[in-house]
Symmetry: D2
Subunit: 352 residues, 4 copies
């Protein structure tokens, strides 16, 4: 969203922003609890999930109402904004429907299943004049935000080499067949692609070369569970994005920016400053889930939603960022298909 695009301003009142959550899965439940308990300016009004009981299980303890139909909240007068945490395949339709209903929208990543879908979602939100925020939570993690500030302020000089890494905790999927193709690019590394974009402001990704394999289920037809992607930027910077579906030591998110005047690293996985010294050495605990490691970031991104709604302005991270990150993911798919380098689209026209 162009920062100059006007956003329909919600009448400023002293009441919190009233939010409905769509999708009561793992991350949806976490968002619901965050909205209800940790975002002062949000009021969780309703939780929607078509599965019998799923919405109720999340909504009731939080004092919200449960719905099984999205229309029940899109048509509700007491809902200002919708947080979309449903299956990714439904994201585009839900964003469009919410925008058409005049509701502000926060959508989990990816904002659609293709650049065309994301563009459609973007257009609907722009036409409706609603806030459209995308769930790139790392931008709200304190150290990543600080790193961006150091880049923008010029403290680090010219950006030259970057790294962003995601490793999911545990031993990976038990059934590889349930993982949709290209998941590692469109669902996991999309966070890292956005992080690289975020840490290299003013530049855009030019091309990528992706290397990926199934190391958990060797020879599996579609699963890719480890990937390393090199992204070239318009300012010459070289970015690396790495992902693994199986880190037994916990949820690992790190970043790094080498600039002409210095370097920053973010993320080290220690979940507190406690150090236990025993016969095996000195041990720090590591975080074991995204909701643990990024707990404050999850609250901050939803606070940003409320602030944007309240102030009638585009959110800090919106459709353009969603498009740019997905374009890198799409180029990875192209790179995997050809085995070589693939260009990153900058507009939807290029995707065909």
């Amino acid at each position: 969203m162009d920062p100059r695009t006007p956003v329909r301003r919600t009448t400023m009142t002293s009441t919190p922003v009233r939010v409905a959550l769509v999708g009561a899965g793992r991350i949806g439940a976490a968002h619901a609890e965050t909205l209800a308990r940790r975002v002062p300016d949000a009021h969780l009004v309703a939780v929607v999930d078509p599965r019998p009981g799923a919405a109720t299980a999340v909504a009731t303890p939080l004092g919200a109402r449960a719905e099984t139909e999205v229309d029940a909240v899109l048509g509700a007068a007491d809902v200002d904004a919708v947080v979309v945490a449903a299956s990714s395949v439904a994201h585009r339709d839900l964003v469009v429907a919410a925008a058409d209903a005049g509701k502000h929208v926060f959508c989990e990543k990816p904002a659609g299943m293709s650049l065309v879908e994301i563009d459609e979602a973007r257009r609907a939100a722009t036409a409706a004049g609603v806030v459209f925020q995308v769930g790139f939570n790392r931008r709200f993690a304190r150290e990543f935000a600080q790193a961006r500030d150091l880049v923008e302020s010029g403290t680090l000089g010219e950006v030259r080499q970057l790294r962003s890494l995601t490793r999911d905790p545990g031993r990976g999927p038990s059934d590889p067949d349930v993982v949709p193709p290209w998941t590692i690019f469109t669902q996991t590394l999309i966070h890292d692609f956005d992080t690289l974009n975020f840490l290299n402001p003013g530049a855009h990704a030019v091309d990528v070369v992706a290397t990926a394999d199934s190391l958990l289920f060797p020879g599996h037809a579609t699963l890719l569970d480890h990937a390393t992607v090199v992204v070239r930027y318009s300012n010459g910077a070289l970015g690396t994005a790495e992902a693994s579906f199986a880190a037994v030591y916990g949820y690992d998110v790190r970043g790094e920016v080498l600039g002409s005047e210095g370097m920053v690293t973010m993320g080290e996985g220690a979940s507190s400053s406690l150090r236990v010294h025993g016969q095996g050495g000195r041990t720090a605990s590591t975080a074991h889930s995204d909701t643990e490691l990024l707990r404050d970031a999850y609250a901050a991104e939803l606070a940003e939603l409320c602030a944007a709604v309240r102030e009638g302005r585009p959110p800090a991270v919106g459709a353009d960022e969603a498009f740019a990150a997905f374009a890198v993911a799409q180029a990875c798919i192209d790179s995997m298909t050809t085995g070589g380098r693939a260009a990153v689209a900058t507009s939807v026209l290029q995707e065909a």
Copy 2:
């Protein structure tokens, strides 16, 4: 408070615990904001401060009412609990008045200006059957709580040597004459005395020897701005508590427990996982205030207040802990007066 002492149970309802804050100074304002925005089960109803405008400045942005008289909240039907953040000299009277009015109480440390005062506050709360919690925030800091768990679980074995340290940020008081005598013991190190007690459960402080001086205003009649205290415990453990009023590098809170089976350290002052690498080396930011370093602990201690009220049980840290920590502070004053070792009182009778 004996854990078996019954506490008057607030009728369980779905509404939050309604809290009035007394004392709109720096820490009071922080508590007010925490209650209003970061403790889901609390509802900030009122802020009391006799200074014209002080209560209003804090209360209004948070949607609470401002009062200049304590009686206005002690007599209010919509107040379940009172958080006392007034001047320490008023703590005892406020706790007693709140208890007598049937209000649950959270009191900032110290809970009184002497062991007699703390005992009076304790008796009033017990007689009224209200929750009486004391503001020892470090018990709610994640790493300190983890350390205690490691001690209690036996993982660290017998506790043998401990350290707790507090250094206030900046260059110290601009006017040494406004610092009441013994402040370093009764206001600052009291946190460390409680921390040592907390980390050595089942034992009690036996005696202390305190060494302190004014290094900021050499020769000042009453100011003590640096202090090192050695505390002997009933289980033989040796504790050290250190404080300084002037740490230019920030607010520094650390702890350490050496046990027969291992050692833990807590606190390192880095305020995020960001590391900036420049020509001067690799730099981590440090926290510059208590409300920054202990932000989550402040929320957790007030959540504990609400939970104790809700569940009709004594809080995790109450009058007995307040008494025990103040007894160490009192012994430090005795030690400074005599120059030697001083016994730590275990009951108010010993204080005379």
Copy 3:
């Protein structure tokens, strides 16, 4: 070198291994000092450099003799081994000449300017039955050796994702034209290629894709000063090697191995355990040169040379490792030429 290949055994005596150093440049001077002062089993006999005065400046303070001709040491009866630290273009010829003269050889990386050259050097050493060690110093850095042990012992499980990084201190070359083409691959990243090989024992590099550019002198015809290389291994593992010629914060060498059972990281650049806490935060010093960061590793690799000579056995890192690392560098050159993925040669026949 096949570990079973017999090596001519130097008669075991109580005298140190007598070493001549060829090439009195920066790293040669460092090797000379290490040999003379920090490797107990080495005796520095002579320093050779054709430039008038260069050998003398290094040799005299260390009590060694200075020579301007290599033949002076190859024909000397009091020289057991030669350490080659001359220009890379001379490495092959010097190794062959030394081997032909019956001298054991330690050669700085790369061991030749092509796979053919390295193969020739290897054959000469094998034919002569002399020790032929290559200067891959990171294998001797404590943490990298520990990481390899953890891999070999199975503690980390299957190797899945690796990283090795080199950043040279400072602001890069003042004159880009004096940097030979492909230096970043053949001189700098060759350390990282060997490190990746070292950390993934039993597997070999299959193909690479290299991304590199001149960010210091944009548009320069041949200089590549930043590079990111992705290496695929025969066991499926994905390696990333990164290099920069310009790290203002110091000399930065790091490594990382993700295995199915855990992850290790090596290198953090703090040159001591000192932490300075000031108004800008908490700062650790960083190392500013290879000889500072890897000081102990330099001594350990030359101690290994002496041990191999003494014990009549192949060294821990020899011609095969030199060949394997150079094959990755060569594939990077191929990748840069074609823009795509390039196969890694496993024998010299494949190079044509």
Copy 4:
């Protein structure tokens, strides 16, 4: 030793300083190996130990001769300096004998069993004009030396609060009766007393209060295995020295200086930059012995001996430092005896 005191200058030659080691126990054997292998300017000539076989076991592998009588090396023309690592009770006599024989002396701490003994040793060395160095190895540990530099340069401002800590690895002595009384002060904490003195240059210790107990053998008549000592300095600074005989997690040496302009910490026990991330968190290895943790410091202190001998100058740490540290230990004994604060002697006359 007054820095202006002339020291007899050994004729400058190109041969190393020839050293005899007295006392082939654990630390003596370590010194012997360091002298023979890691101090380029030292040549280990002989090892003396009255126990049959002890000297031979150490000397032979290092190419030195074994002796059972001290006189054999004191009278030897090929010995320039003597390193005394015998039992502490013999230190004074050995230093005096060595000095009288015109040999330079390095003596392990403490340099005597009383201030009188240390003074006698000092006088003998001064009279003979020989170098007399004392084994305070932490002054040669990189981070402690850096900390001192930061104090001396004024970077840290005025010194206000200090800490030095020693914890011996393992579970403590198996037989408490073999530990001489006051060992924790005269043998262990003497390192910390010297460290505090070192880190607070220009000031001297004024008085101490010691708290110590046997926590390993509760009620033992003489063993003190844990101690915490507070030292007041002439510039007002408050120092804390802590020791334990039983750290299961390894050998732990740390230091800390709070100054008016900043703070430094030294020592964290990680023995390399390797971090192992597993299901239990992120683990760093810890050092398990003094010779591991302080390996470089041991070499540096013996290099300093050789340099002082070579340059005909007093060593960096000599009899005055030995006296000052022992004076603190002696005051601790006094403090333990009286239970109160005890003055620190600044001259031998005060000891009576």
